[in-house]
Amino acid sequence: MMLLPGQASTSRRSAATGLFLLPSLIVIAVLLVGPLIVLFLTSLTPELAGEVQYRPSTAEHYERFIFDSYFLAMLWKTVWVAGLGTLLAALIAYPLAIGIMYTRSGWLRTLYLFAGLSPLLVSVVIRTFGWQILLGSASPLGSLFAGIAGSSILHSTPAIVIGLTHLGIPFVLLALLPSMNQVDINVLKAATNLGARPITITRRILTPLVLPGLTAGCIIAFSINATVIVTPRLLGGRESVVFQGVIYDQMLWFFNWSFASALSVVLLAVVLVVTGAFSFWMRRIYLRPERQEAKAASRSGQEPRGLATEQDDVEVRS
């Protein structure tokens, strides 16, 4: 008898499958889980400049963070700067994604896709260097800004926000495009034929359908914006420091490894709480109409009609 996929002897198959997964699982256990545990333990250890000893015995570093308003102020600044950068990135990535999906011109699509994703292929250091040149006195644009504002825009908080916006766009795009790809174009055509304006279609039809992707993109962009070191460091300089910069200094300049670890744990916790709360809130928004619809449908005994699914994709294909 011929063995077809899924019919081979189960135990041999699963052993082989385990072997296939093993290298990646080892990499994750040793290089991801391990360092996270070390980081947490270090944050509970007395300071030993550059040395690492694991006798978790103190919460002094967390106390120092809580009772020094400077660190709390820096943390708040990181949250709002990263949040603003993420919001702007989403506002810019959204029309670009619409352009990529729905433009009729092939070369425009290529150009949009290229501009949207290619920054990912260039190191963030170089991209930030570009902004340093653009916003500094070396370029006409920077001089113009300086003339209007009275002082250079480089080495200021607005410069950081611009840099973070630019940094976040490709990540929002990467999460948004697959989501938009699932939307049945006939729905949009129907709305157009019924006389809806593009802005109405975007607001009432497209946005609810792509909200999961948009949410995911914003979460990724925020996590990166709130933790990236290079961009705020080069664009904010000494004049505008954010929380990541404080961690960087504590770690590599003052060699306060335990305190830097405690601050890192705090930052990680804050990022998780903010993105978790955002995700929860968005989920409530985009699940609400669907839930009501499902409830109404079950009352009238009909099949609930949900978001665009694989099914629609298959229909397009055939």
Binding site: A8, S14, P95, L111, V122
Partner: protein, 280 residues
């Protein structure tokens, strides 16, 4: 007017294009100077910055280190990714643990690089070791693994399962089917994974910044250290090189299999399908 094709959105998108590409274009322009300072447009056009770059031995060494790391990582990471994606596929879609494992393989993306970098530096020290080349390569394998698993996994899913089945029915052994049907069909995904892993490794600064020892300062880390205090046209020359090289590769990729594939998207595929459907 069809949705998304109006003049308003096209104008908006062209402005967005300018915003996205401006910092890259500016670096390339700033590199074409013979003056000793950065100015856009250059006060003195020339290639002096590139000649100056040739004299910066520390940056050249860092470039070789980054290139060596990227090449190693772009072999190992897609290999692990291929094994993992293939393992997940063998487990079948019905298995509950597949979802969990997929999340585990994507986890390195979710942990901020600062955290990873600090944890790895402390972990290395706690084992009584010092940061070294092997630590750098291991760290880069970790941060590129999610991309490899995702891109190759998407390639496997997109493949027509009937082709593998046909190979088996025609009498191919597991290995024959794998090497003569599956792998050749996976080639675009594999190329994309190799390119992305190499690119992410070469560009990384978040993790490398912390695990850099005197002998393992990668190019982005060295540039970052320099830019914190100084500003020089030869940095723009490096920038121009590391911008134009991957963009060139991306353009070739676009010609061969679509830029979206590089990032595990299938936007172009859908557009192609749509066009075919319109013709029918």
């Amino acid at each position: 007017v069809r949705f998304g094709t109006g003049r308003g959105i096209t104008v908006a998108n062209l402005l967005i294009l300018v915003f996205l590409l401006a910092p890259l274009v500016v670096v390339v322009i700033a590199s074409l100077t013979s003056a000793g300072f950065v100015r856009v447009p250059p006060s003195e056009w020339g290639v002096g910055a590139y000649a100056e770059l040739g004299r910066q031995q520390a940056f050249i060494d860092s470039f070789y280190l980054s290139a060596r790391t990227a090449i190693t990582v772009s072999i190992v990471s897609p290999l692990f990714g291929l094994m993992a994606a293939w393992g997940l596929k063998r487990m079948g879609v019905t298995s509950k643990s597949v979802g969990v494992l997929e999340a585990v393989f994507l986890a390195p993306l979710a942990v901020p690089h600062v955290i990873l970098g600090i944890g790895m530096l402390q972990g290395t020290h706690s084992l009584g070791l010092r940061p070294a080349y092997s630590v750098l390569v291991s760290a880069h394998i970790l941060i590129t693994l999610p991309y490899s698993v995702r891109i190759i996994g998407a390639g496997l899913r997109r493949m027509d399962p009937l082709l593998e089945r046909a190979g088996q029915i025609l009498g191919g052994s597991d290995w024959e089917v794998y090497s003569r049907v599956t792998l050749p069909l996976l080639r675009p995904a594999l190329i994309a994974a190799i390119f992305i892993a190499g690119s992410v490794s070469f560009d990384d600064v978040g993790v490398s910044l912390f695990i850099a020892d005197a002998s393992t300062i990668t190019l982005p880390v060295r540039i970052f250290g320099y830019l914190e205090y100084q500003f020089s046209p030869f940095i723009a020359a490096i920038g121009a090189i590391v911008i134009l090289f991957p963009l060139g590769v991306a353009m070739i990729a676009q010609r061969i299999f679509g830029l979206g594939t590089l990032f595990g998207l299938n936007v172009e595929e859908r557009v192609r399908r749509g066009r075919m459907a319109a013709r029918d």
